[in-house]
């Protein structure tokens, strides 16, 4: 299985570099813009005051929201969203294709003619997804560490949460896409469904914040679980959300395993 993991890692390495560059690049770009906005923040606040409170809340800038003159607040509003949307997309694509690609490309016939169990294949591929996402977030974390250290006092807890909370969100998307890919094996279809979930969940997140009527929707969107406001203001991820996240990830992977081990491979 070691060889399978190493080979999978090598085969996915280029895309890991590419996506990490995009995510870390976006985070760095947003952090580079901070000094320019910091000085003009008073004008920015006036500009923003014309928007309704609910709207500002949706983007974490309302009352009890983030202070954008502070660089943690600035990153929480401007950079964190990109990390989550782009990183989440990568996670969904990786999770959704790492298994289904074998069937779509018909290489699964080769793999399953070798003495390796389906359990080991799933475990190996799941592990590569986790390692890749951890590496991406570690690199983004490094960028954040540099930026936060330059801009002022480093709050280690907030830095760690900003660096690795997206990992939880990404694992949720990756595990759900992984589960779907047991049934939907055409790569294009898996990609559409996986990216649909990433974008759809973000829309649900916005709706839950914009309207009181649909506030309960926040419990089903992973973006809320790792909300930047809680990270900066409370220096934590709410335990209930952490628990839900771990459950979603475990259930998705377990369900994928349950169905895949008994599945007819008719590629």
């Amino acid at each position: 299985m070691k060889k399978l993991i190493v080979t999978e890692f090598k085969r996915n390495f280029k895309s890991l570099i590419l996506w990490t560059s995009i995510v870390a690049g976006m985070a760095a770009l947003m952090l580079l813009l901070y000094p320019a906005f910091k000085d003009s923040f008073v004008q920015l606040e006036e500009l923003l005051s014309i928007y309704p409170e609910d709207f500002l809340e949706a983007f974490g800038m309302g009352e009890g929201g983030l202070d954008m003159s502070d660089f943690y607040g600035w990153f929480g509003v401007e950079g964190y969203l990109f990390v989550n949307l782009i990183g989440g997309s990568y996670a969904a694509i990786l999770g959704g294709t790492i298994l289904s690609k074998e069937e779509d490309d018909k290489t699964v016939e080769f793999l399953l003619s070798k003495p390796i169990s389906r359990d080991h294949i799933l475990f190996g591929k799941g592990l590569v997804v986790s390692i890749n996402l951890l590496l991406m977030n570690a690199f983004v974390g490094l960028v954040l560490l540099i930026a936060f250290t330059i801009y002022g006092d480093l709050n280690v807890v907030v830095w760690l949460l900003f660096s690795f909370a997206p990992f939880i969100l990404q694992m949720i998307f990756a595990s759900i896409a992984f589960f779907i890919s047991v049934f939907v094996t055409k790569s294009r279809k898996v990609l559409s469904v996986a990216l649909g979930i990433v974008i759809g969940m973000y829309v649900i997140d916005l709706i839950s914040k914009l309207t009181e009527e649909f506030e309960y929707l926040k419990y089903i969107t992973p973006y809320e679980y790792i909300n930047a406001v809680t990270i900066v203001n409370d220096e934590m991820i709410k335990p209930i959300y952490l628990l839900i996240s771990v459950l979603i990830i475990l259930i998705s992977f377990t369900a994928a395993w349950f169905f895949y081990r008994k599945k007819d491979i008719v590629a």
Partner: protein, 291 residues
């Protein structure tokens, strides 16, 4: 060595796979498994490798159950699929190493020997190889681990005649080592060339298992003659058809008798060829119906 007991597979979408296939293949035997496309050859192969699960019945390889002991079985099996699909972005040498790594140590000397015999460039990427060259990679990875059993699904497609010869030589030397070979094909002549026994499958059912000598004895030929003369056919001639001055039939009798018959009439043209598999099946069907 390989034993199928009333093995049945139904697919959810495509309904029939195979029905009640019972078969036993002895150790060291080369068993030909022939039938037209869609007859159930690949379904049988896929069940042996546990890519799919049987609906009912059972299959064992070396006494091991294909479902519960699949890993143990795959340790001793070399497999050549009909449609070769490997990781295009890998280099051939890396891929061969990867394929062998699942079985433990690599017999590099033997791999080198196979690469040389099959004239394969291992420093190329798999995606740059032709279909025939990909097939060579499949042959090498299947043989390199010294398997006790070879499962071959249309192994010669894509290989040029010279390479087909080389492949058959390799199979013969495997047979000498005592390797059991399950050879699935729709090409009767290649099966005749190498196999000890032949099983014929059609529409999911195994309709006949025969020794190759018996097949050769009953071997039918497709005969097509052009003549204006009045041609009397005998009972050895099946499926007689007349069209535009041509008469065609499947001949199952003695060749000498046919030549004598033909020499007595005025013939403009004649061709005697291997009949399409379908017509051989017809031959078997007609015999079965008579029985």
């Amino acid at each position: 060595m390989i034993k199928l007991q009333e093995l049945t597979k139904y697919y959810k979408k495509h309904s029939r796979g195979i029905l009640d296939v019972t078969l036993e293949i002895k150790q060291g035997e080369i068993f030909g498994f022939i039938g037209p496309n869609g007859a159930g050859k690949s379904t049988t192969v896929r069940t042996l490798l546990n890519l799919i699960f049987p609906t009912s019945g059972s299959a064992t390889v070396s006494g091991l159950d294909v479902v519960s002991d699949t890993i143990e079985i795959r340790k001793m099996v070399g497999y050549i699929p009909s449609e070769v699909a490997f990781y295009g972005d890998m280099y051939v040498k890396d891929f061969i190493e990867y394929a062998c790594s699942f079985h433990g140590n690599i017999d590099q000397l033997f791999v080198d020997e196979l690469v040389e015999k099959l004239e394969l460039d291992i420093n190329r990427k798999i995606e740059d190889l032709s279909f025939g060259n990909k097939k060579k990679v499949a042959i090498i990875t299947a043989l390199a681990t010294h398997p006790k059993i070879l499962i071959l699904d249309e192994p010669t497609s894509g290989l040029d005649p010279l390479m087909q010869n080389m492949f058959f030589q390799l199979l013969e030397s495997e047979k000498k080592k005592g390797t059991t070979i399950f050879f699935s094909s729709h090409n009767l002549s290649e099966v005749q060339r190498i196999c000890d026994r032949v099983g014929i499958i059609k529409e999911g059912r195994l309709i006949k298992v025969e020794n190759i000598e018996d097949i050769l004895k009953t071997r039918a030929k497709k005969v097509r003659i052009k003549t204006q003369a009045d041609f009397k056919h005998t009972e050895d001639m099946l499926k007689v058809e007349k069209m535009n001055g041509f008469i065609s039939f499947v001949y199952t009798g003695e060749m000498r008798t046919l030549i004598e018959l033909l020499s007595q009439i005025d013939i403009e043209d004649v061709s005697i060829t291997e009949p399409p598999l379908e017509e051989i099946f017809m031959h078997y069907y007609e015999k079965e119906e008579l029985n």
